[in-house]
C-alpha cells in the first residue's frame, strides 16, 4: 500500500446518486500499485483539503485496467462523497492504494461462483467476477438495488454470466430481496461472494450457511491501514479476538466473523 496521486480522467453519474470515476496513474510507482490490486481491495481516498475532512473515505475497486487505470463506483451518501462527486476531470486525487485484503482467488479452486451484491456493494463484485471469469470460472450473479433508477452495470454483469436483477419495489427485474431469488440463478456453485448492506450480508450468510463463501464488510474507518483499531469486527474464534476490516478484511470467509 502506498500513497499515490491519481488523475481523474472520467467522472459520470451512472445511476441515481451513483458516480463512476476513472483514475489514471501517471507514475511508474502508481502503475505498479494499480497492477497489483486484488479484487475486494479498496482505495482510501482523501476527500478534503486542510481541515475540511480529517477522515479519508474507503471505496472499493470496481475494475482495473492494465494501462494503469482503476475504476471506482460510489454513492453520494454524505458530505465526503458529495465533495468527491464534484471533482473535475484532470484534477488529482490523493489515495492510499491498494488497501486491505481481497478475495483469496489464487487459493480457491472452483468451477462455479455465485456473486450476490446489494446496491453499492455491487462494484467490487464486478472486478472479482471479471478476474474469475478470466480464470475460467462460471459466474452467476444476483444483484439487488433500491429501484430501477439505482441500477447500474447490468450489461457488464450479463457479459460475465447469468445475472438476475432485483429491486426493492420491483420497478426493475425481480421484486424483493436478493435472498428470495438466489436459487433462481443457481443452487449449484462452489463458492459464493457477497457484498452489500449489513442486513443483506446477514441474510445471505444464514441462507447459505451450508455453503462456502466470502463476505465483504463495511465499517467506519480512521486510518484505513491497520493502525487505529477503529474498524474491528469480532472473529468467530470464540477467544474474543478481533479482526481489522481495513487490513485483515474487508473480505472475510463468511464463517470467520460475527456480523
Amino acid at each position: 500500500m502506498n500513497r499515490q496521486l491519481l488523475t481523474v480522467t472520467r467522472i459520470n453519474e451512472i445511476a441515481e446518486e451513483t458516480v463512476e470515476m476513472v483514475l489514471q496513474a501517471s507514475t511508474t510507482s502508481g502503475m505498479a500499485d494499480i497492477s497489483v490490486i486484488q479484487p475486494g481491495q479498496f482505495l482510501h481516498i482523501k476527500v478534503g483539503d486542510g481541515s475540511a475532512h480529517m477522515l479519508r473515505r474507503p471505496i472499493s475497486v470496481a475494475d482495473v485496467d492494465k494501462s494503469g487505470k482503476v475504476i471506482i463506483i460510489f454513492k453520494i451518501t454524505g458530505e465526503g462523497t458529495k465533495h468527491l462527486s464534484q471533482w473535475r476531470e484532470g484534477s488529482e486525487l490523493d489515495v492510499l492504494i491498494p488497501c486491505g485484503t481481497g478475495y483469496p482467488i489464487e487459493e480457491l479452486q472452483m468451477e462455479r461462483a455465485l456473486l450476490i451484491g446489494g446496491g453499492i456493494g455491487v462494484p467490487p463484485l464486478y472486478y472479482l467476477g471479471k478476474v474469475l471469469k478470466e480464470k475460467g470460472v462460471n459466474i452467476y450473479s444476483v444483484l439487488g438495488f433500491q429501484t430501477k433508477a439505482h441500477v447500474f452495470y447490468q450489461q457488464q454483469f450479463n457479459k460475465l454470466g447469468e445475472t438476475i436483477m432485483v429491486t426493492d419495489d420491483g420497478s426493475f427485474g425481480e421484486k424483493g430481496l436478493v435472498t428470495e431469488h438466489l436459487s433462481k440463478v443457481t443452487n449449484d456453485f462452489d463458492y459464493f461472494f457477497t457484498c452489500g448492506p449489513a442486513g443483506m450480508l446477514r441474510a445471505v450468510s444464514s441462507r447459505l450457511a451450508d455453503k462456502q463463501g466470502y463476505i465483504s464488510v463495511e465499517q467506519r474507518m480512521g486510518c484505513g491501514i491497520g493502525a487505529c483499531y477503529a474498524c474491528v469486527i469480532p472473529s468467530t474464534a470464540g477467544d474474543g479476538s478481533l479482526k481489522k476490516i481495513c487490513k485483515d478484511g474487508p473480505v472475510f470467509p463468511a464463517k470467520e466473523v460475527v456480523l
Binding site: 480529517m54 486510518c223 474491528v232 469486527i233
Partner: protein, 310 residues
C-alpha cells in the same frame, strides 16, 4: 542550518515531531510507508495489564475539522506488546515513549514497571485522561489528588522519565498540571481528546456505539494552545503539545505557546505522511518567522519569555 533538536527528560530528540498515542499503532503500518528513523520519537498505543477488546463499533465519526473516537483502549495487553510489538521498533534509533493506561493505581504501576523494564522504552506517558472507558481512567484525569497519587506511585516504581497526559475535560487544567508536577512528573503531554458526541440523524442515536467519543483534530487546536500556554506559566516541567496539529506552522504555534515537542494524531489519518511532511517543512517555517532553532521558539509566544512584541 536550522536546528530541530529539542531535549526533554530522557529524550534527546533530533526533531520535535512524534506521532501521538493511538494514532500510529505500534509503528508497523507507517513503517511500511516511510523510514521511522526520521521521527523525533514515537508514542505507541496505550497498554493495559490485560488484553482489552475495546468498545463496540462504530468507534469513529467525522466532525467539522475533527473527529470523534471511542476505541476503548483495545490492546493485546502489556506482555504481548513487549513481546510482539516492541521488537519491531528495535530496528530504529527513534526513542519510543510507551503510553500506559489503567483503571487502578496498581494497574498503572504494574504496566509502567513492565514497560520501563524494556530497553526499548525511553520514557512513559501515563494516560490518565482516556474518556472512552467506563471504569477508572478518566477519574484520574479530573481529580488532582488522584492524578498526583498515580504519578507518585509510578515514579516510585520506575527509573525512567514519566510524562503525564492531561485531560482537557476539566475546569482548571493548571491545577492538574501543578499537582502532578509536585508529585514528581518529569513532563506533561497535553491535550488528550475532549468529550463530544455526534447524533446520526437516520438512526436517531449517537453515531459512536459508546455514545460519546473524544474530539481531536484542528477543531480543538485553539483549546490545546490555550491550555499549554496557561500551564507553561505555572509549571517548570516541559510539555509535549498536541491537539489538531497538521502543519509545520501549527508546530511553531505550539512551540511559541510553550511546548518543547509536539505529537501528531488525527493528521496521520488524513495524510499518513503527515509527520514526515511536517518535519521536512519545519526548518523553512522556523526560518520564515525568524527562528534559528526549535529551542529558540519554545515559549516565544509568551510575554514572560521576554520576547518583545512589536
Amino acid at each position: 542550518m536550522i536546528s530541530l533538536q529539542t531535549s526533554l527528560p530522557g529524550l534527546a530528540l533530533d526533531n520535535p515531531i512524534m506521532p501521538a498515542s493511538g494514532c500510529f499503532g505500534f509503528g508497523r503500518e507507517f513503517g511500511d510507508l516511510y523510514d521511522l528513523n526520521k521521527l523525533g520519537a514515537i508514542i505507541i498505543k496505550a497498554a493495559t495489564k490485560q488484553a482489552r477488546a475495546g468498545n463496540q463499533t462504530p468507534r469513529v465519526a467525522e466532525t467539522a475539522a475533527g473527529m470523534l473516537n471511542a476505541i476503548g483502549l483495545q490492546n493485546p495487553g502489556v506482555k504481548a506488546i513487549i513481546e510482539k510489538e516492541l521488537p519491531y521498533l528495535s530496528q530504529f534509533n527513534t526513542p519510543v515513549i510507551a503510553n500506559v493506561a489503567g483503571s487502578s493505581i496498581e494497574e498503572y504501576v504494574y504496566v509502567a514497571k513492565m514497560l520501563a523494564d524494556s530497553e526499548l522504552v525511553a520514557a512513559l506517558e501515563l494516560n490518565i485522561s482516556c474518556p472512552n472507558v467506563k471504569e477508572g481512567g478518566i477519574q484520574f484525569g479530573i481529580d488532582p489528588a488522584l492524578a498526583a497519587e498515580v504519578t507518585a506511585q509510578v515514579k516510585d516504581a520506575v527509573m525512567k522519565p514519566v510524562y503525564i497526559k492531561l485531560s482537557p475535560n476539566v475546569t482548571d487544567i493548571t491545577a492538574m498540571a501543578k499537582a502532578v508536577e509536585t508529585a514528581g512528573a518529569d513532563g506533561l503531554s497535553m491535550i488528550n481528546t475532549i468529550t463530544g458526541m455526534q447524533i446520526n440523524l437516520p438512526d436517531r442515536s449517537p453515531t459512536i456505539a459508546n455514545k460519546t467519543g473524544g474530539l481531536s483534530g484542528p477543531a480543538i487546536k485553539p483549546i490545546a494552545v490555550r491550555m499549554i500556554y496557561e500551564v507553561k506559566k505555572q509549571v517548570a516541567i516541559p510539555i509535549i503539545g498536541m491537539g489538531g496539529i497538521t502543519t509545520a506552522e501549527d508546530v511553531l504555534e505550539f512551540l511559541l505557546a510553550g511546548a518543547s515537542a509536539v505529537a501528531i494524531g488525527t493528521a496521520n489519518f488524513q495524510n499518513p505522511l503527515a509527520c514526515i511532511n511536517i518535519i521536512n517543512d519545519l526548518p523553512g517555517v522556523l526560518q520564515q518567522y525568524g527562528f534559528s532553532s526549535v529551542e529558540e521558539a519554545i515559549g516565544g509566544g509568551m510575554e514572560h519569555a521576554g520576547i518583545s512584541r512589536s
